[in-house]
Amino acid sequence: MSEWPFLDIVVFLPLAGTLLIGLIPRARVGALRIGALAVTVVTFLLSLGILMNFDTGTADFQLGTSVEWIPEWGISYITGVDGVSLWMVMLTTFLMPLSVLASWSVERRAKPYFIFLLTLETGLLGVFVSLDLFLFYVFWEASLVPMYLLIGIWGYRNRVYAAMKFFLFTLVGSLLMLVAILFLYFSFPGSPTFNYQELLGTPLSLGTQRLLFLGFFASFAVKVPLVPLHTWLPDAHTEAPTAGSVMLAAVLLKLGAYGLIRFAIPLFPDAARELVPLVMTLAIIGIVYGAAVAIVQRDMKRLIAYSSIAHLGFIVLGVFVGSIQGMSGGILQMLNHGLSTGALFMLFGALYERRHTRRIADYGGVARSAPVLAGVFLFVALSSLGLPGLNGFVGEFLVLLGTFFRYRWWVVPAAFGIILAAIYLLWAYKRVFHGPITNDANLRIPDLRPREMVMLAPILVLIAFIGVYPKPFLDRIEPSAQKVVDQLRDSSALPEAAVGDADAP
């Protein structure tokens, strides 16, 4: 164990970095970029300290601090990571410098841009490490404002509408969660506290649990997003600037799934168990619906956005299926989706900078002028659709395996979703990079620049690495995943598909 509170430093370093950015005059765009890059890179390097000090053998929370904040109300500053949040923290710190690189072309109002981006990083990291419901809620909401501004100021034409929709959808959900948090707070028998680990044991009747679960679920389902609540996502993804899309897809969406794993299930296990069929149905609908709608999209960013809905459906399916394979696969898939979809948005962002159009029909034959770009895109697309040997396969396979053990027939629509994924991604790839050149501008598209290579290379390496050797990742996930699975299955009152309780993958 380290003496250093790595975790807390990592969380607040970006926020402190905004002060540095604030000191740079707004005309010096170059210095602003370098400053933001430096802050995020240092944050990432420090976060490696978390990874190295992480103890694989336990499901407990590690490396955190606990300080009283408002003792009158039982509010404390409690942080810590476990196998679920570890990779989310790493994903965030890892993608942030790359997002800064992807924002190199932001010339207009660069200073507030980087300030908001760094604030966003602190907000997101805070959500993943908070172990006090109050603290969690503060970060949860606080991450909303910078994202709202990023979309609204630097987005595309419909940015204001998209930003508003994003903010309000999330806000309505989170306010319902706030009521549930307060209700839980007052139901706690001991001295009032927001401490997550203490609240875990709160005795609640099933009816109350159900209501509170729905309160939390409302908030997380919007963020995931599950299908009836997803409409903000295509707009927000499409209109956001590249770095915004990357952070949205890679990290923000994970907040929802993370919240389900961390809070909704452990706090209200009975209600969660009871509502498994409902959640799984929504997840399956998301998988099929997202994929089907993605096929017919004409706008590349919308296509990627709908693909996210399908992927997140997979994650939720894995989480709620109630087996260790499903849970670990779901958590790993959160990481995978962050990498591959993040990369897709970066690649398309690069393409957009060259051609300034999002319509798929405007492209065609791009591979001729930009072969490297095309190759990288294909690689990432294959990862996203789950080609064996790449990361997406590992996660999706585990989820399907977990599902198969418990609910055999649910695998069918889920697998159908994978087939659809192959269709929309490969078809989009074909229409953009191959085929006849309909527009002469496509002939003069420059290939990837060195900066873009630097930005993409780490992701590509990780995609391949997880695909071939996922063990180090799964090792760290599994103890914590097992704990949540146990909570979800507790009295095994489920309609058990008696086949597999095989705990070893």
């Binding site: 408002i70 109300w73 609204g152 100021i153 508003m164 806000l171 309505v172 306010l175 007052f186």
Partner: protein
Amino acid sequence: MPLDIPAVRLTGIAPEIALCATALLLLVIDAVLGERRNRWYLPALASIGLGLSIYFATEAWGTTRLELSGMVAVDGFASFVKITLAVFGLLTVWLGRDFLVRERAEEGEFYGLVLFAVAGMMLMAGAADLIVVFLALETFSLALYVLVGFRRRSLLSQESSMKYFLLGSFSTAFFLLGIAFVYGAVGSTNLYGGEDGPGIVSSFMATGASDVGLLILAMGLLIVGLGFKVAAVPFHMWTPDAYQGAPSPVTGFMAAGSKIAGFAALLRLLDVTLYPLREDWRPLVIGVAVLTMVVGSVLAVVQEDVKRLLAYSSIAHAGFVFTGLIAANDRGVSGSLFYLATYGITVLGAFAVVAVLSGRDDEKVTLRDYRGLFYDRPLLAGALTLFLLSLAGVPVTSGFVAKLVVFGAAIQEGYWWLAVVGMVTSAIAAFFYLKVLVVMYMQEKETEDAERVRSGPLSTGVIGLAALATIVLGLYWGPLIDVAERATLFFAGG
């Protein structure tokens, strides 16, 4: 027969006396020294008066007794509200100074009226008899009617003053009829009762339930009168107009001050005196609260004028405070106090920004005038953003904590659905706060202004203080909530 004149103790109304004396002195000094270019001594004197009243209110902290034949209560609750009001008064005077210099308006009268208004509001907090509530209400209302019309060149200002006045007197008549009915039902208008006569509740208990109908009718009428002052729906019609017409510093003061004064009286009346009858008044107040939250939030969405927008927002906030009042438990009362104090500071800050930006004649107050503000005046826009987020109830601001505590109180009392209504309306309300952000951050400025607005040193100070308070109380509110909790040890009397 020897005339026995009882010794009169004035600790209870010392803050009010200090203010009234200072106000009179101000008027005299202004008249004696006459027209001068820089009349810095006037705001200085007003500040001293407010400081004195804070001192006297602090002195009274910790005691609980009735004074002046049971007419005035001296307790932590009154002290808390009085100190808060004096702080609002200080901010208003400083903010008003820049405004008055810019508009070349009469300074002495302005400060005098502000001090009288603060004195009236303070009396509301300490009033232990309905007739004192009435007098206090009229004292601060009359001062406010004039302050609203203080933009002498603006017809808008005077018309809103007239409208405020007419509707205000109209609602006062209902309030008065309420007092008369209380008197008719129980034969007393005293909230506590004591050696000088029985109070409302003890008389009520003595007479039995015979006149309960009259008493409930009276309660309804009293709620109408006080609901008017705190801008509760359906007695809110004056709010948008008065807010729009009044000079921006006055608008901030009205929003902050008359809200806390009105709620102070409501809290003492409903949560203390009529606590035994809470099941009778709750349905009525719940109805008002829900209406207020919904109407305030929904109507704000369509506003194009920043001051009108903040007016509807202030209506919605009255509804949120009502949830704390309805809970009627310790957390509800202390939460309402906390809410009113932090809301007041935030809203004064917001109107300070509005006042600075509104320019000459206080006229640039539509959303169009705020386009691209962030790129023009990043600090002002940042401060306004902070205030708006606090009003919207986003974490890390005092507004979030305030919402948390009043909704928490409602949930604790079993009114979780009321909290849900509050949350949903907060989300609607967030829409129009965001609308202002959209204008400030996401739209381009239309024309280059010839003259750049200048923020006077005092206004800058007020904005800075308010911003600091908003964020500090959002991060570390323990001490203030602690004080608010101790302030709820009412004088129970009887």
